[in-house]
């Protein structure tokens, strides 16, 4: 029964149903605030998809992700506020810049392994924060950037309004997910997964480690940059705190709770946790007393995240249904146990 329900969720039509649901959401939503929260959750989800590429697929825990998110936001913010660029050219510039910087950082950091890579990137993220905070001539320092351009709708729509902006973000999210799905099934995605399983083995299969890892890293920072740029267009005020390491940890939490390395996990995790935090607001300063342990419990009991646990379960069930029981045959006897009397 449950299995049937599960297969329904895995049915290809289900994702179209989800898209339709997302399209209709602003109509269901009881107010604009809910649409606004959903739009911001989508923005974060895009960044989390980037993290999924480098961490979920390629197995490198990148703790500079929040930094790249902020770089995307700052590129767009500074170009539009200080240099008068309009949104879309600045948006493209933000993508290019985060990709380029991702390339530079990747080339240096990806030589490191495991925890060393993680902490190294943690420091890179912190350096990005410090630079945004201290390099006042360029970034306005702690004062932040105001008057950021909103996405221009070319006279057709007004993206400063919440609902149109929601659809804009949704479009980007669908694109991000679509690409991620394609990637994961493609040879390139499989190459990334092979690297996650072990450098040595991957190399013995003729995979160029540095090139592939760097590509995954650049892709992930570009996703982060895209999300950051959208974020800047949404809030239209950014400050160095947007590069706070906390954001990276938040994104990892979303990823882990949803299901690392899965296609729908990042979205589910992000939207889920964003709403949980919103609904715990009534607890005010005490909400972390609930949220902290909740996080621990999720990690202990759903280590592969909701989507990952679900997929494993489904696979097991389908194997059971396909081949009810596959007895291994015995080598020496006819399979009955020893009549032990000792």
């Amino acid at each position: 029964m449950l299995f049937k329900l599960g297969s329904l969720l895995l049915h290809p039509a289900f994702k179209y149903a989800l898209i339709v649901l997302a399209l209709l959401f602003p109509l269901f939503a009881s107010n604009e605030y809910q649409v606004y929260v959903m739009a911001s959750a989508f923005v974060w989800a895009i960044a989390v998809y980037g993290l999924n590429i480098i961490t979920g697929f390629c197995g490198q825990l990148n703790l500079a992700h929040g930094g790249f998110f902020a770089l995307g936001a700052y590129t767009l913010g500074l170009l539009s506020a200080d240099y008068g660029w309009s949104f879309w050219p600045a948006f493209v510039a933000a993508l290019l810049f985060t990709a380029f910087l991702g390339f530079l950082v990747g080339v240096v950091s990806l030589r490191l392994k495991e925890h060393y890579f993680a902490i190294f990137t943690l420091c890179v993220g912190f350096i990005i924060y410090l630079l945004l905070d201290k390099w006042e001539e360029l970034t306005h320092g702690p004062i932040g950037v105001r008057d950021i351009a909103a996405p221009n709708g070319f006279g057709l729509v007004d993206f400063t309004q919440t609902v149109p902006f929601y659809y804009l973000v949704l479009a980007f999210l669908v694109f991000a997910m679509w690409f991620m799905g394609k990637l994961s099934r493609s040879l390139l995605g499989r190459t990334f997964v092979a690297i996650r399983n072990g450098d040595e083995l991957a190399q013995s299969l003729g995979i160029n480690l540095m090139r592939n890892k760097t590509l995954a890293f650049v892709l992930s920072t570009t996703y982060a940059g895209m999300a950051g740029a959208l974020y800047a267009g949404m809030i239209r005020f950014i400050g160095p705190e947007d590069a706070n390491v906390q954001h990276t940890f938040d994104m990892i939490t979303y990823l882990l709770v949803g299901g690392i390395g899965t296609i729908s996990g990042p979205l589910l995790g992000t939207v889920g946790i964003v709403w949980i935090t919103q609904s715990l607001q009534f607890l005010e300063e005490y909400r972390m007393i609930i949220f902290g342990p909740l996080l621990v419990i999720l990690v202990i009991f759903f280590p592969r995240g909701f989507v990952g646990s679900f997929l494993t379960w489904m696979h097991r069930e389908s194997q059971k249904q396909a081949a009810p029981s596959k007895k291994k045959e015995s080598r020496v006897s006819t399979g009955k146990g020893v009549e032990n009397n000792a």
Binding site: K328, R331, S333, G337, V338, N340
Partner: protein, 235 residues
């Protein structure tokens, strides 16, 4: 001395041991044969307390030890020399051996005596005593592992595939010392893939398949059994 009755062990939903009943008497050298994944290591780990049985009982010298902590099992006299040696690679050979005496750490004089015995068994270890264990050759590491297990003063020594990955020459020495240890009074339970060599020194043997014991017999019966010869010894 050791008695298992109807023991079941599960990894999640997978039943790795199914209704295992087995016994080892004092002074015996019992061999456990079985293919990869048959459950030999699981059985050893269960006796050692690293895995918890979901059903059945394990008794050692009349005391129930099923479900005890590994440290308590070691104190009670069952010591395992596990697959893959599990040495402390940066500690010296001597430190490794002394860690083996951990449960008897208060009895300094006794430990000295056992240490001398081990070094007599493996004189090469005396030469290497100040080298980090990780720098030794595979065979020497295996000696340290067995020596360390002996330092825990086992009455029952369990050896899990001690010949794994060792050169034939070293393998032969290994079996010789196992026989020697046994003849000096330690009961031995030995899991092996190298069935012929193992059976040659065994008192008795069990065959394990897919988590079940499927055959039992003394050395001659086993060596004479056609199916055993075919499956575990080779042509």
């Amino acid at each position: 001395m050791l008695q298992l009755k109807n023991v079941d062990v599960c990894y999640g939903s997978f039943k790795a041991l199914n209704n295992i009943s087995l016994s080892v008497d004092t002074g015996e050298l019992v061999v456990l044969l079985g293919a990869n994944g048959a459950g030999k290591s699981t059985l050893f780990n269960t006796i050692s307390g690293l895995n918890k049985p979901v059903a059945g009982s394990i008794e050692f010298e009349g005391k129930r030890i099923g479900g005890l902590k590994p440290s308590a099992v070691v104190s009670s006299g069952i010591v395992q020399c596990a697959e893959g040696r599990k040495l402390f690679p940066q500690m010296t050979v001597m430190q490794n051996l002394m860690m083996g005496a951990y449960v008897h750490r208060r009895d300094k004089a006794g430990n000295k005596k056992y240490l001398d015995e081990v070094l007599e068994l493996y004189p090469i270890l005396k030469e290497k005593e100040h080298q980090p264990a990780g720098s030794l050759s595979g065979g020497q590491q295996q000696m340290v592992a067995i020596g360390r297990a002996l330092m825990s003063r086992p009455r029952l020594l369990m050896l899990d595939e001690p010949s794994l990955g060792l050169a034939p020459l070293v393998v032969r020495q290994m079996f010789e010392t196992i026989q020697k240890i046994n003849s000096l009074g330690t009961t031995v339970l030995l899991a092996e893939q190298n069935a012929f060599a193992a059976l040659k020194i065994a008192t008795r043997a069990y065959v394990m398949e897919n988590g079940q014991l499927v055959m039992e017999g003394d050395r001659e019966t086993m060596l004479g059994n056609e199916q055993v010869r075919k499956a575990y010894i080779g042509a």
